[in-house]
């Protein structure tokens, strides 16, 4: 991770201080930090000479922005029409019940953040779930839960390997 106090400067320079590129700037910030930290946003507001309230408005308007840290993995469930008709809500319910998480929220152990998204454009293989950008097609409540449990196992294995 780039040194914090230089991060905003770098981002602003990357886009030539163009306020029109505010959303890409915030996307870069979130890509770097995992979410949008308040102090970084204050810094961005100062350097761009744009009121903080505007950054807050943008951060809370667009669904992809997070103002709180996310989990280790990003789980995205498509809720487009076709996925919906093929049972996406029951998959969502099952995941929420099993892992005790709300859509948009993060599991207590920080394993994953669950997002619902309106259509990822892979409608022919619905229902679709993404884990860290990797597509899983034709998922069911059972298979989705299995996939997510394997994330936990992977994490445990990775931690064990890190220890040795």
């Amino acid at each position: 991770m780039i040194q914090n106090d230089k991060l905003i400067e770098q981002i602003v320079d990357r886009y030539d201080k163009d306020v029109g590129m505010l959303i890409p700037m915030m996307q870069d910030l979130q890509a770097e930090c995992g979410y949008l930290p308040v102090n970084q946003l204050r810094d961005l507001s100062r350097q761009l000479e744009v009121p903080l309230s505007r950054l807050y408005a943008v951060a809370t308007f667009y669904a992809s922005f997070r103002l709180a840290p996310k989990g280790a993995h990003e789980v995205t469930l498509c809720m487009g029409t076709v996925c919906y008709l093929k049972g996406a809500p029951s998959i969502s319910e099952a995941i929420c019940r099993e892992f005790r998480v709300e859509p948009g929220g993060t599991t207590r152990d920080g394993l994953f953040t669950l997002q619902a998204v309106n259509c990822v454009g892979a409608c022919a293989v619905a229902p679709v779930m993404l884990v860290d950008g990797k597509y899983y097609d034709n998922v069911t409540p059972t298979s989705a839960i299995e996939i997510l449990y394997s994330l936990a196992t992977d994490k445990a294995i990775a931690e064990k390997e890190a220890e040795t």
Partner: protein
């Protein structure tokens, strides 16, 4: 990639030389394996197949002339992963990793077919070895998708060798702005994003508008759930969009373009970025394009996750670093758009059609389609059809032809109930109108719209009230919240639809929905709000009986709405295995060995576990 050095092209002659050079390197007897990596096939792991084919190619030895290509969405996603072998257009479907070696050995090297991978028509049992023998493809006419499946979208050389960047030099070589616009006008091209506004008229208004600089924008926000046409074009043939924008910008007098891609399409962003860099390298973007005085460059912006940003003024607000809130269009964006300057915004598919129109002429384009809707349209045909995927057909084709001939009819032996077109701004069309011709105006007469091209097919197991509720919930979540009728009105409509699907409706609810629909249509600020009630109104129009059943009988005829239907065990199908009884969380099922089990309706909470678990499908929804 091809060792041509990719030096800047100084003029049209340079470009032509490059094209000829590329073509001359083609060996007629060379084989080519094309692996589809469109959204559907990629989700099923086709990139790995491509890797395996590449490995096979490199192991084949220098004397074997063969290459492997990863290509854009070919269309028949249902049967993916798809692999094509050229020459000959040999079509293999549902290819898996172990099949790679067999295909390479048998077809590529040996010239023989691998029978078990050929497409088999489920209706006739006939196998098809080439693309043109498959009903799904036979009826299609491909302009925007012409190069999908043919070229490697990450290679500008492929695009040029296939004939791309032919329209651009033609334009720079001596077509004036008005001449270009006239050609597009002759073609009768109308916006493919849903609005259907005549493209030439828009270009002309922008060209004539006062103010500078002028901007051209490509709307790649494709928010309609169920639609992935633009994604397939951006990922399968990004240069067609760039070339289209170059031509449009030249005609309008713009030197700065933007492509706005929704956040949920990172691969589209990557492909477009790559394509833009390649174009810049060759001098097809930037200053003095092909030696002319024309300068034009493109910037890519990602959306932040907001369906409303598909609306042109909201998109422009987003490009200004603001929340994506639409504004009044009493002053059009061609006059005052991005940063208050004249701006021309067109959809991905619209731009992708422009090079073909310039190359083959407006008259040719206008010879396809209907009187007021010229050319072709790409549709995403999804839902309960046998062949789901992406299709491109001439305007004027009927719904029946699309769903039955191309789509192969309804899957799992079910029956057609409705087709939802036009996304959340559209409506549901029932069986009685299957012979309606699909174009900009016909579907609107039926209470729906063609929209951006999403076509979701539904069968008898779909509750139309629930469909209406789904769309209203979607729109409520995506509403920007700026104007009262959309923000409050959709919440009120959802409240009513929730009551209806929960069996708590009141007489008069349908009329209330109608009142709210009229209010939204008349007073909402933008098209999202104005058309938001279409799914509700069209389902009330054609499926009023379902609404009445929910409201008056507290019954869901499609048996989807929980609590509005019962579960019963069919005594003739029940084998008394006891699985349902063991799994019932309420102990509501009784039965002994060899005696058909029975559900106690008083205890039953309608969780559906028995229905899911029964191995003999003896649990019925009633």
């Amino acid at each position: 990639m091809t060792g041509l050095g990719n030096t800047r092209l100084c003029g049209p002659a340079d470009l032509e030389r490059m094209r000829q050079e590329l073509l001359s390197r083609r060996v007629p007897s060379a084989k080519s394996v094309h692996v589809c990596t469109g959204p559907g096939c990629a989700a099923k792991g086709s990139p790995k197949l491509y890797e395996l084919f590449c490995a096979a190619v490199s192991q084949a030895g220098a004397d074997v002339q063969v290459q492997a290509k990863a290509v854009g969405c070919h269309g028949l996603c249902e049967y993916g992963p798809i692999v094509l072998v050229q020459p000959g257009d040999i079509f293999y479907q549902r290819v898996e990793e172990p099949d790679v070696a067999e295909i390479f050995r048998e077809t590529v090297l040996g010239g023989r077919l691998v029978e078990h991978l050929l497409y088999e028509n489920p209706a006739t049992g006939q196998k098809a070895d080439t693309v043109d023998k498959i009903p799904f493809y036979k009826v299609q006419k491909r302009i925007a998708l012409a190069y999908n499946g043919l070229i490697d979208p990450t290679s500008i050389e492929d695009y040029i060798a296939a004939g791309g960047y032919t329209a651009l030099p033609k334009v720079l070589n001596g077509m004036g702005s008005e001449q270009i616009i006239e050609e597009v006008e002759r073609a009768g091209l109308r916006g493919r994003g849903g609005g259907g506004f005549p493209t030439a008229r828009k270009w002309r208004s922008c060209r004539q508008a006062q103010g500078s600089p002028k901007y051209v924008i490509c709307n790649g926000d494709e928010g309609d759930p169920g639609a992935f046409m633009d994604r397939a074009i951006m990922e399968g043939n990004p240069h067609s969009v760039i070339e289209g924008m170059l031509i449009g910008a030249y005609a309008i007098g713009s030197s700065q373009g933007y492509i706005y891609v929704r956040n949920e399409y990172p691969l589209s962003v990557e492909r477009l970025k790559q394509a833009i860099e390649q174009a810049r390298e060759l001098g097809l973007l930037g200053q003095n394009i092909l030696g002319s005085s024309f300068a034009f460059d493109i910037r890519i912006n990602r959306g932040g996750g907001a369906f409303v940003c598909g609306e042109s003024t909201a998109l422009m607000a987003s490009l200004e670093g603001r929340p994506g809130e639409p504004r009044a269009k009493y002053i059009h964006t061609v006059e005052s758009g991005l940063h208050g300057k004249p701006t021309n915004l067109n959809n991905v598919e619209t731009w992708a059609n422009v090079p073909a129109i310039i190359n083959r002429g407006g008259e040719w384009f206008a010879s396809i389609g209907t009187e007021k809707s010229k050319g072709t349209k790409v549709f995403s045909l999804v839902g309960k059809v046998v062949n789901s995927g992406l299709v491109e057909v001439p305007m004027g084709i009927t719904l029946r032809q699309i769903i039955e001939q191309i789509g192969g009819g309804i899957r799992d032996g079910k029956h057609f109930k409705a087709v939802q077109t036009g996304g959340p701004s559209g409506g549901c069309i029932p069986a009685e109108h299957l012979d309606a011709r699909v174009d900009f105006d016909e579907l609107t007469k039926l209470g729906s719209m063609m929209g951006s091209g999403g076509m979701i097919v539904m069968d008898e197991d779909t509750c139309m009230v629930k469909v209406a509720r789904y769309f209203i919930e979607f729109l409520q979540k995506e509403s920007c919240g700026k104007c009262t009728p959309c923000r409050e009105g959709l919440a009120q409509m959802l409240h009513i639809l929730n009551r209806i699907t929960a069996g708590e409706a009141e007489v008069g609810d349908v009329e209330e929905l109608g009142v709210l629909a009229e209010l939204l249509e008349g007073t909402a600020l933008c098209a999202l709000g104005k058309t938001a009630a279409n799914p509700v109104i069209s389902t009330i129009r054609y499926f009023r009986d379902e609404y009445d059943a929910h409201i008056l009988d507290r019954h869901c005829p499609a048996k989807e709405c929980r609590g509005l239907f019962r579960y019963e065990i069919d005594p003739e199908a029940c084998k008394a295995c006891g699985i349902c009884m063991k799994n019932c969380p309420e102990d509501a099922i009784t039965g002994e060995k060899k005696v058909p089990h029975v559900i106690n309706q008083e205890k039953c909470t309608l969780c559906g576990t028995c229905w899911e678990k029964c191995p003999f499908t003896a649990v019925l929804k009633v």
